[in-house]
Amino acid sequence: MTDKTGNTSKVVEQEAINFAMAKSIADGDIVNFHFLFLPYSPLREDSTEDIYSIKYSYLLPTQEEEQSPTFKSALDLVLREDIREHINEQLHKKGPIQLLSELLLALADNAVRQEKFTSASQAYELLRIRRRMQELFFEQGERELIQGNISTAVRAYRIASSLEYDYGAFPEPLPAVPRYHEHALILHAEYKTHQIECIGNLALEDFLKTAFHYLFLLPEHASKITDKPIEIQTQFLIELIQQIDPNWGQFVQHVHETIPLMQELYQELKLRMERIASGNLWEDEWDEGLDTEKFLTISELLLGRKLNNPEWWAYLKELAYEHPPSILFISRQLIGKEQEIIIPRYNMANPIVQQLNLPPLPADM
């Protein structure tokens, strides 16, 4: 279409509008969905942005995506006459837009299915049903637990907890997200008297309580499960750990790799303790000549890579990010007066340790 001055005005095909809308709904992507309505959206005819340009190709579905049932169902919704009219009206409107609740609800459900929890909770919050949806997932989780469907129950609790909002966020409330890397540091900030009293060596009941409080977003979410019988809690935690960390096997493999070095470290420390006891070594000089560089490798092996910062807390934070539950099975270990590392430390008598395939460790000091 060309106007009197010879400029070509932009035309956006209805198909592009339908497909872009349906894709964002099928993907459960609230950011893209919202973006499609903004003043500079490439779907608007008065915008200079072009939906067919390569930079916006992510907004349109691939051929494979077009065949997915989720996309087809979203497209059917978008093609409904009243909905299509509303979309077109909003795309031509100046000023604040009004999103369609039907589309938002479908988007939120798809986001939950794909575990895009921040997107889901934002959409439910916009619809003002987030708190009730959270309750529905907790209630269904409780029913599944009673029926013995641990895996489904864990999924329900995990979804419910992940739909939490952080009302303390500034300046507006935002979806709450787990901060494992921060909580891990708090958990390992200090042990009561000795490293041996780390989380992995706690009595089962205390271990479960600590684990649920660490893995769930809020204490009230954790307390929904900590009042159940210990056997249920144990099964629940094993399943929860595997669902939170689908790459758990990788961490187990890393633990295996640390064992020879841990054995060497323990032997070395034991020898030094014996020499101190027999008066052949001053207590203040217990770490003299200890090959700290070599034992630093334990932290590296546990994480699976070397960090520029060799401090124990740097490794702990990274590990908490990559394998959140692993934090429950490690502790700090002194390898020099001012040098600490993180090493695997847990109690083989703990049924959770056995069922998570963690290997036996060299005897502790």
Binding site: A156, G168, L218, P219
Partner: protein, 195 residues
């Protein structure tokens, strides 16, 4: 409409709006004493700690605001205004939330509401914690204040969100939620293969 979501310091102290200053002091001292006894008689879990901190902060604020005539009148006025504005916005918004009048009312209400929540659910609550009489009665100290800032921000935003939930929809079309369908959707999501 639930007026209690706009913090009612009179009902926190179990008083009527026309109460005397003497009653404010008497009820505050009794309720604070009961609360402190309650805290010391049980084992406090981390989430209970926040609740107790909030309860203590609210009692301090109720006393601090209601015992002073100027602060008390300003609070009553502000609360009345925000409740009135909500009523007006709801009346207009139910029919045409995006009309110019509706838009203006919504913005005005939002501004007054945020001011109210900030002043009476955060600023004056923290100020009350530094008041000599409140400090003596509640043993409020800088440690409490540091934690209370976080708890109060959370509480204020949550109240804002709860108020927001009952207002007319304007940025989203009003949804028709069939809770039976939602229950089924939850089951279907849980039993379907993870995408």
């Amino acid at each position: 409409m639930d007026d209690e979501t706009y913090i009612n310091y009179f009902s926190i102290l179990g008083l009527e709006e026309n109460c005397k200053t003497g009653d404010v002091r008497k009820n505050y001292k009794k309720m604070m004493k009961d609360l402190i006894l309650n805290i010391h008689s049980t084992e406090v879990t981390p989430d209970q700690l926040d609740q107790y901190l909030l309860a203590m902060a609210k009692l301090n604020a109720a006393f601090y605001i209601l015992r002073d005539e100027v602060r008390r009148n300003a609070y009553v006025e502000h609360r009345k205004k925000v409740i009135q504005l909500e009523k007006q916005w709801c009346e207009v918004g139910e029919n045409d939330p995006n009309s110019p009048e509706g838009d203006q009312l919504r913005r005005e209400f939002d501004r007054v509401l945020r001011d109210f929540l900030t002043k009476y659910m955060e600023e004056l609550v923290l100020e009350a914690g530094r008041d000599k009489e409140c400090v003596e009665t509640s043993n409020w100290d800088p440690y409490h204040e540091r934690h209370a800032s976080r708890v109060l921000r959370h509480y204020r935003q949550k109240q804002y969100s709860q108020i927001h939930e009952r207002l007319p929809y304007y940025d989203v079309t009003k949804p028709t939620i069939d809770w039976g369908e939602r229950e089924q959707a939850v089951k279907q999501i849980l039993h379907a293969e993870k995408v």
